[in-house]
Every structure is written in C-alpha cells, then in structure tokens.
C-alpha cells in the first residue's frame, strides 16, 4: 500500500499529465539497460544493445519502454489499489519472465532521473519525494505475487 497525502497525489497526477509516456518510457528503459547493463539479460531478442547509442535508438527498446510506462500510468490512476492493478503483471514477471524484483527498483529510480531531466526545477524535492513513494509502491506491487 502506498500512502500519499492529498498534496502528493496532486503533485504526481499534475506532473504525470505532462509526461510524454512513449518518449519517457523508451528513455527510462534505455537508460536502465545502459546504466545497469546486466539488466540486458532479459532482452536477448531485442537485437543490437552493444552501445549506449544502439540501446537508445533500438526500436524494440523504445516500444517496450512505452508499454512499461503506460502500465505505470495505470498505477498512477489507481494509487489506492496498486496490488490489484499489478496483480496479473506480478504473476507474469515471476512465473513467465523470471525477473528479480530488484530490477523494478532500479527502473523506478532511473525513471525518477528521467523525470528530473525533463522537468528541471518543476521536479521539486516534494515532487521527487512523492514519485519515490509511487515507484516503490509499484515495485512492491509487482513483487507481491512472487513465490
């Protein structure tokens, strides 16, 4: 369960309205693969990931990043029920994809860096604090069905 104050919810939904979900998603996933290269282990079928430029320009990375961030957007619309929202995805990531939940934490923090990069001063410490709660909540929800 994630506990955001009313102000925090407003900060999150306000900023999210300005997020270019497809673009930011591609950038976040790309940066995850560049900054933490061991995360590439899940993406053998994605083709050329041999350099930062190759990763960032890779169409499969962009497409998958967009998908991931759209999903995050669903979470933001349902902050009071993240576990329910991500229940099926949690099962998928455990049973079929075999992804260590630590990766969700890494991606969450990379996303926070991407938001900072794009929003500059609008990404105030209070906004960051609110988003840190959201990304932790989403990561925990995605890990909830692991066994």
């Amino acid at each position: 369960m994630v506990h955001l104050t009313a102000e925090e919810k407003a900060l999150v939904t306000g900023l999210w309205g300005k997020v270019k979900v497809d673009e930011f998603g591609g950038e976040a996933l790309g940066r995850l693969l560049v900054v933490y290269p061991w995360t590439q282990r899940f993406f053998d079928s994605f083709g050329d990931l041999s350099s930062a430029d190759a990763v960032m320009g890779n169409p499969k990375v962009k497409a998958h990043g967009a998908k991931v961030l759209q999903s995050m957007g669903d979470g933001i619309k349902n902050l009071d029920n993240l576990k329910g929202t991500f229940s099926k995805l949690s099962e998928l990531h455990c049973d079929k994809l075999h992804v260590d939940p630590e990766n969700f934490r890494l991606l969450g923090n990379v996303l926070v860096c991407v938001l900072a990069r794009h929003f500059g001063k609008d990404f105030t410490p209070a906004a960051q604090a609110a988003f840190q709660k959201v990304v932790v909540g989403v990561a925990n929800a995605l890990a909830a069905k692991y066994h």
Binding site: R31, V55, C113, G120, P125, Q128, Q132
Partner: protein
C-alpha cells in the same frame, strides 16, 4: 566494479561543466534525500533540516568538495578519500544503504540542472563513480 578510461573521462568532463555550482548541488541533493528518504534524517538530529537551512547548505558544500577531490584523483580514490573513509568507519558509521540514497539524489540533482550533458553514457559513468566513492567510504567498516 572498475572505472574505465571512458568513465573517468566522462566524469571529469561533466564535473568540469558544473560551473562552481557543486556546493549548491550538494545542498540540494541532501535536501532531496531528507525529503524523499526521511530515515536519512536520523543522522542529523543536530541540524536544522528545513529546506534552505544554512547547515544543510554548508554540509552540501563539504560533500561536493569531497566529490571534487575524488574527481581530481580518479586513479586513486581510496588514497584521496582515506581520511574520510576513516571518519565514516570510526565516527560517523552511516549505514551503507544510505550512500545509495544520497548517490541517487545527486544523480537527480545533476540531471535536473544539466539535462543535455546528462546523457545515458554519462549517467552510467556518474553512477559508477558515486558507487566507487561509496565503496571507499564504507571500506573500513569491518
């Protein structure tokens, strides 16, 4: 984890572009850390931690200066930060998990103020650099 020649070049070049704002960024990173990760405040009961606090700004400058020392000695970070390493091990004893939290907030601050220079490759090198510093500062803990 070892800093490659490219990592070192990336870090030096990026750091050179901070334009004297390093101290200010250090303070902002601490501020962000205290707000996003309130458990970190437990190490500063003697500080005024309200945003804009002079103590936080002063401490931010200390942190930034230490990082600059590391940047200027990338071939021997353990040597350059040896005294700070002793301090953290024997006096401050900040739990190692907190270095990741501050490192993350430093990256956020740098990304925010230098969006164009904070490329994915530079982001990777900076993350490695901060992890290296954290390892050095906790290296004498036990």
């Amino acid at each position: 984890m070892v800093l490659s020649a490219t990592d070192k070049a990336n870090v030096k070049t990026f750091w050179g572009k901070l334009g004297g704002h390093g101290g200010e960024y250090g303070g902002e990173a601490l501020d962000r850390m205290f707000q996003a990760h309130p458990t970190t405040k437990t190490y500063f009961p003697h500080f005024d931690l309200n945003p804009g606090s002079a103590q936080v700004k002063g401490h931010g400058k200390k942190v930034a200066d230490a990082l600059t020392t590391a940047v200027n000695n990338l071939d021997d970070v353990p040597g350059a930060l040896s005294a700070l390493s002793d301090l953290h091990a024997h006096k401050l004893r900040v739990d190692p998990v907190n270095f990741k939290l501050l490192s993350h907030c430093l990256l956020v601050t740098l990304a925010l103020h230098h969006p164009a220079d904070f490329t994915p490759a530079v982001h990777a090198s900076l993350d490695k650099f901060l992890a290296t510093v954290a390892t050095v500062l906790t290296s004498k803990y036990r």
